[in-house]
């Protein structure tokens, strides 16, 4: 249990997907201008990461290893994720139009979000068992959501700040991200 808590904390703060592993930087810079869209993306990533981690992990353990086709993992994983995202989109559209309205536009973007494929691959590289895989994927996605939330609020505030012309937009966002990364890295001593 203690080991799982350490894993969760590391995935959430010290090994944060965005600020220390640099996965999912595109949505981090692209859809963080408004809090509502940042949260929408966060929920979509949580949903898809969890689902795709379970599917790809089982696929690797029970199909690819049994057939000795481990080298095909990149191709198989990306296809599984792309198919999964399409399916999730169809299912959500049918079952809950309200949820579809909230997440719909973010779902197609997720296929090329490196966080999703990255977590699927890291679960294999780190040799996680089923429980560790669940905890790791959940907390990585929650960490993504948490950083998106903080960052989007900072960007909303920055809209009204006097920023030099050259820094407007992405450059100042990166500088702010650097400060956030510094804060998150300091938590490393706890684990």
């Amino acid at each position: 249990m203690a080991e799982l808590i350490t894993l969760a904390f590391a995935a959430f703060i010290t090994e944060n997907v965005i600020l220390s592993q640099f996965l999912g930087i595109c949505p981090f810079l692209g859809v963080s201008k408004k809090r509502s869209s940042a949260m929408g993306m966060g929920f979509a990533v949580l949903f898809v990461t969890l689902l795709s981690s379970i599917v790809t992990w089982s696929m690797y353990r029970f199909v690819l290893v049994a057939l000795e086709l481990q080298y095909l993992r990149t191709i198989v994983f990306i296809l599984v994720i792309a198919a999964l995202v399409q399916m999730v989109e169809l299912v959500i559209k049918k079952i809950s139009p309200a949820l579809y309205k909230a997440l719909g536009i973010y779902l197609p973007l997720i296929t090329t979000n490196c966080a999703v494929l990255g977590v699927a691959l890291l679960n294999i590289d780190k040799n996680h068992n089923f429980g560790q895989m669940l905890v790791y994927s959940t907390f990585i996605a929650l960490g993504f959501m948490f950083v998106m939330y903080i960052f989007s609020m900072m960007r909303e505030k920055m809209e009204f700040s006097p920023i030099p012309n050259a820094f407007k937009g992405i450059p100042i966002a990166l500088v702010v991200a650097a400060i956030l990364a510094m804060i998150f890295a300091r938590f490393g001593g706890i684990v």
Partner: protein, 219 residues
């Protein structure tokens, strides 16, 4: 547009990293040494040139194009993922240390937006030869951008420049001369965000100045 312009546009005018801000994840993660940047650049060059070529070959025929169009994204992804797997296997076999330091970012070339972006925006509507030239230009432009970031980070962060394997320059005497130590922060995530942010700001400032000059000339 002739082939030369087609090749050169990737470096400055349409630089994938600095102008379109695509493929940011590896540019922040693996730029801790110049060697990593070169390795990543070569991997992207290989994948992008071949994927552009294969995709434009697939789409050059009218009949094929009609047939592939509705499922083109999955088709592109399969082509790219296959090429990435080839790169991954070759690197694992011959360049083990580079393979280990690039880590998960080699398979993640699949989701690098530059490659799918060029397939969709250029290769699928152009002839194979121009697609290859475009791919080479874009990949080298990306490599150039990665090199710039990694030069700053490695020099300031550890005081060395690792070019390839054992071939490295030790520039610590410069730091000794100035009586300072290398700034460790630049090898950490903080340094990645800061370096990239400041380089982008310099580029924005330069292009703003250029535009202001053009406006003055028009007036």
């Amino acid at each position: 547009m002739n082939q030369k312009e087609n090749f050169l546009k990737g470096f400055i005018k349409e630089n994938p990293l600095f102008v379109s801000v695509l493929g940011t994840c590896p540019s922040l993660a693996i730029t801790t040494s110049v060697e990593n940047a070169i390795g990543m650049g070569i991997a992207v060059l290989f994948v992008l040139v071949l994927s552009n070529w294969i995709i434009s070959m697939l789409m050059v025929n009218e009949k094929m194009r009609e047939w592939i169009k509705p499922v083109r994204i999955p088709v592109f992804i399969v082509v790219i993922a296959t090429l990435v797997t080839v790169v991954e296997m070759v690197m694992h076999a011959y360049l083990v240390s580079l393979y280990e330091s690039l880590g998960v970012f080699i398979p993640l070339i699949v989701v690098n937006c530059i490659i799918l972006g060029r397939a969709e925006a250029f290769a699928s509507t152009n002839k194979p030869v121009s697609a290859i030239v475009d791919g080479a230009g874009m990949a080298l432009g990306y490599t150039f951008a990665l090199l710039l970031i990694s030069l700053v980070r490695e020099l300031l962060g550890s005081g060395t420049l690792t070019i390839w394997g054992d071939l490295s320059l030790n520039l610590r005497f410069l730091f000794d001369f100035l009586r300072i130590t290398p700034i460790d922060m630049f090898t950490k995530p903080v340094g990645a965000f800061l370096t990239f942010g400041f380089i982008l700001a310099v580029i924005t400032a330069l292009s703003n100045a250029k535009q202001a000059k053009l406006k003055k000339a028009v007036k």
